[in-house]
């Protein structure tokens, strides 16, 4: 690091900002594009079913397809609200 860099060190370099943004967006892109086409439709249907019984937000259901060797793993995550009203 030379003297000039020392004075500039506080400001985050735009190249590292770019790299960080790309890593996030590309991970997301690969997850979306890699999966089969029905994933999104299935996600919406599951969300509709969950909503019939529990009041949850639109982002409560997360569906992800992963590959582990020959095996495909469908990961389904449903986030329920912290306190469910008891009747």
């Amino acid at each position: 690091m030379n003297l000039l860099d020392f004075f500039r060190a506080n400001k985050k370099k735009s190249a590292s900002v770019a790299k960080g943004r790309l890593q996030v967006i590309i991970a997301q892109q690969r997850a979306e594009v890699g999966g089969p086409d029905y994933l999104r439709a299935m996600q919406e249907e599951i969300l509709a079913v969950v909503k019939k019984y529990v009041s949850v937000g639109d982002d409560a259901v997360k569906v992800q397809m992963e590959k582990a060797g020959e095996c495909e793993i469908l990961e389904l995550n449903i986030t329920l609200p912290d306190s469910v009203d008891k009747e």
Binding site: A15, A18, Q29, R30, G34
Partner: protein, 269 residues
């Protein structure tokens, strides 16, 4: 057996046609009989970059539609032996390309040529899909810039799923990265993604790095593939890339800032 190489990127304006012209010229210079096909039907430009725009009579679509034969449409380069150009049609659109027609033309060319270079249009529509479909290898041209890198990643996904090799469960298309318009000065200042950054993100082998260079515009102004400008950094970098494409171990150049002037020399180390 001919090797089919697609030059692709997703994003426009990153240097696909410049690269197609340079790589095909470089292969032909080394004695390999090479044809370069312009898949950008409706927006042809390869003929301009190769400097043969006034010699186009018949084109790729004419051959597909059997309105002309290959020998009528192929343009022989006047500078380099073994180099032929198959121009795109300027008056039709990409729907004029169909997979059977493209297959037939490529099969015919494969009997006679060692390398078939497919210059893909930008985007991921039909023309780009056709250019990729039959590829054995893909050179993904990328600028060190966010939108180009993201588009390149998208194209890598398509190469892995929508090509003939993918559909027929053959060995995958061999992908490599060509980073263009690279400026070591800006990388050093932290203003531009570095080679390592882009390699980290795309995770494919590096074929070459072409430095930002005035000679690229000068080459296109005069219709000379930049690889023929043997004095220019860009020309040398393309020459190195052709060597690597053929399997040579060539060290990468033009990745560091050239130190100039008194202070540069004093503190170089």
């Amino acid at each position: 057996m001919a090797k089919i190489i697609v030059i692709t990127s997703g994003k426009g304006g990153v240097g696909k046609t410049t690269t197609s012209a340079a790589i095909s010229t470089g292969l032909a210079k080394r004695g390999y009989k090479t044809v370069v096909i312009d898949f950008d039907v409706g927006l042809r430009n390869l003929d301009l970059i190769m400097g043969c725009e006034r010699r186009v009579v018949y084109d790729f679509v004419n051959v597909i539609k059997e309105e002309a034969n290959l020998n009528q449409a192929l343009i022989k380069d006047k500078r380099v032996d073994n180099l032929y150009i198959l121009p795109a049609s300027q008056t039709r659109d990409k729907d004029a390309l169909d997979i059977e027609g493209v297959q037939r033309v490529i099969d015919d060319l494969a009997k006679d040529f060692a390398y078939i270079i497919c210059d893909s249009p930008a985007g991921i529509e039909k023309g780009a899909m056709m250019a990729m479909y039959f590829a054995d290898e893909a050179i993904v041209v990328t600028n060190p810039e966010v939108s180009s890198v993201r588009d390149s990643d998208r194209v890598l996904g398509i190469l892995a799923s929508k090509t003939k090799r993918a559909e027929e469960n053959q060995d995958p298309v061999k992908e490599s990265l060509l980073l263009t318009r690279y400026s070591p000065e800006r990388v050093e200042k932290g203003e531009m993604l570095s080679v390592e950054d882009v390699k980290d993100i795309l995770a494919i082998p590096l074929l070459g790095v072409i430095p930002e260079s005035e000679s690229v515009l000068q080459a296109s102004n005069s219709g000379q593939p930049v690889i023929l400008d043997e004095e220019s950094d860009a020309g040398k970098a393309y020459e190195d890339a052709v060597g690597r494409l053929l399997g040579d171990e060539v060290p990468h150049r033009f990745l560091e800032v050239e130190k100039k002037g008194f202070f540069g020399r004093l503190f170089r180390g």
